[in-house]
């Protein structure tokens, strides 16, 4: 039999690795070693550790490797295999979600708002296991406008007024009284006389002006009676043990304020909103998550490090920037690199007016002027090795 290593020896050995391999690998190695420590000799321990370090260093990217180009290709090629226009209905007759290539383009373009904003709202310990409690919160979040609960709108030519007929059933369902509706309309139409007659809202006009009538009718229909702005529809679904609320429309800031919402897990597919509410690191994580989910949903497997690089480039200045003219490519330092991308003449002219200088440090500039590019073998600078030279001289 051999000498079994002690726990102290293991932890001493691991301490030596501090700074050489990442923490996550180190902790995994640690727990694995602990599992088999009864069968471990010192020699075996050393060999395992050596192999792990070797394997890790092997996986690192070498200096001067074109990681950006590789990332672009690794995301672009699977992109060609994606469905061009998919409007997917998640589940049975539910929300319309942009997926596939259009969604991926949306993410890298860092659009202000996705074409189908959606939220996933998780609930706290108290509300998450009860369908009724979850529904209560869902109803509180869903926005209801006058248009949603009105039956029809009529123009009363005799009395110079606009009449909105409210639907009793719809009002009861969402727990709204005609009085609430009246008050909300009064608030948003300050200079109009508004009154309530049974289930009718009467808005008095000064004159019969079709354009003005139309404007007022539109405006009154959009008056929000309850709920959160931007949340058009909600749906409660059971996910494993708990109930989760899905929404059509997104308003992270307001939803997080709602009591009963688990603000740690609640999220949205609107990256700009995440940036605004939770900060740039959260936005970076959101870009990675959204891009990864979009690719995976299409059955494509892209190494997460390519996506992480894209997210890093988009967020490294502290704000989410798009990949393109108005973002990453348009803000390059080099004049020639910017001119090579789009709107060449304008870039050159404006750079000329500003008296910009180009230091030819990037790849594109050097391709343009016909020099060796600072990438791969081109980024290597050779010198004489004093060490080898001395040895050669000594040995003759």
């Amino acid at each position: 039999m051999f000498d079994v290593v002690t726990e102290k020896e293991i932890s001493d050995k691991l301490k030596e690795l501090d700074g050489r391999i990442p923490w996550s690998i180190l902790s995994e190695l640690k727990s694995e070693l602990e599992r088999v420590k009864d069968k471990l000799s010192e020699e075996k321990l050393n060999r395992i550790v050596e192999r792990v370090v070797e394997e890790y260093e092997e996986s690192l990217v070498e200096a001067n490797e074109a990681v950006g180009t590789v990332a672009a290709q690794s995301i672009g090629e699977p992109g060609t295999q994606m469905t061009l226009r998919t409007f997917h209905y998640a589940g049975v007759a539910e929300f319309n979600v942009t997926l596939g290539l259009p969604r991926l383009i949306e993410i890298v373009d860092a659009k202000k708002e996705p074409s189908t904003p959606m939220m996933t709202i998780y609930l706290d310990e108290e509300h998450r296991y009860d369908r009724e409690k979850a529904k209560l919160i869902a109803r509180e979040i869903e926005s209801t406008t006058v248009g949603d609960i009105s039956e029809r709108t009529e123009v009363d030519v005799v009395n110079y007024s606009l009449v909105i007929y409210l639907d009793e059933d719809l009002m009861r369902e969402s727990g709204i009284s005609p009085k609430d509706v009246l008050n909300k309309i009064k608030k948003s139409l300050r200079n109009k006389k508004v009154s309530l007659k049974g289930n009718k809202i009467v808005i008095e006009m000064d004159e019969i002006d079709p354009l003005e009538m139309r404007r007022v009718a539109m405006k009154s229909k959009e008056v929000r009676i309850k709920g959160i702005k931007g949340i058009r529809r909600v749906m409660v679904r059971k996910e494993g043990e708990e109930y989760v609320i899905y929404t059509d429309g997104s308003n992270l800031k307001e939803v997080l304020k709602v009591k009963g919402v688990d603000w740690r897990r609640t999220t949205t597919n609107n990256i700009r909103e995440i940036e605004e509410v939770l900060g740039i690191e959260a936005a970076r994580a959101a870009i990675i998550r959204e891009a990864k989910n979009t690719l995976e949903e299409q059955g494509l497997n892209v190494d997460i490090r390519h996506i992480m690089l894209v997210a890093d480039v988009m967020t490294m200045d502290g704000e989410v920037k798009q990949i393109g003219r108005h973002g990453v490519s348009g803000e390059k330092h080099s004049v020639l690199a910017r001119a090579a991308f789009e709107v060449t003449v304008r870039q050159l002219m404006e750079a000329g007016l500003r008296g910009e200088e180009d230091f030819l440090r990037g790849v594109v500039e050097n391709v343009i002027v016909g020099q060796q590019i600072p990438l791969g073998t081109g980024g290597v600078e050779l010198t004489m090795s004093p060490e080898v030279f001395r040895r050669l001289k000594r040995d003759g």
Partner: protein
């Protein structure tokens, strides 16, 4: 448990300290550096420089000779690595 005390998230690797200097392991050339060194030496040989070592019988291709010299550590060429901080070091 013991892990958190021995390896902390404050360790060098997370602080962004270059791992170069205090790592007592001989650093390797990247594949690009290797290619440049062998390429430079092969060019010298092709232009008539005498080989630094006794060349095995039948070896005549300059690239092959350069590779042979490289593997035996005889090429007196190395690489300057420049870091964004401005620090330079020889490999």
């Amino acid at each position: 448990m013991a892990l958190s005390s021995s390896i902390s998230p404050q360790s060098k690797i997370f602080r962004g300290v270059p791992l170069g200097k205090d790592r007592n392991e001989s650093r390797k050339y990247t594949r690009f550096e290797k290619a440049r060194i062998i390429g430079a030496r092969a060019l010298q040989l092709a232009m008539g420089a005498p080989p630094l070592l006794e060349i095995p019988e039948g070896m005549s291709d300059p690239i092959e000779i350069a590779l042979y010299e490289f593997e035996n550590g005889a090429i007196p060429i190395t690489v300057v690595r420049k870091y964004p901080s401005g620090r330079k070091e020889l490999v």
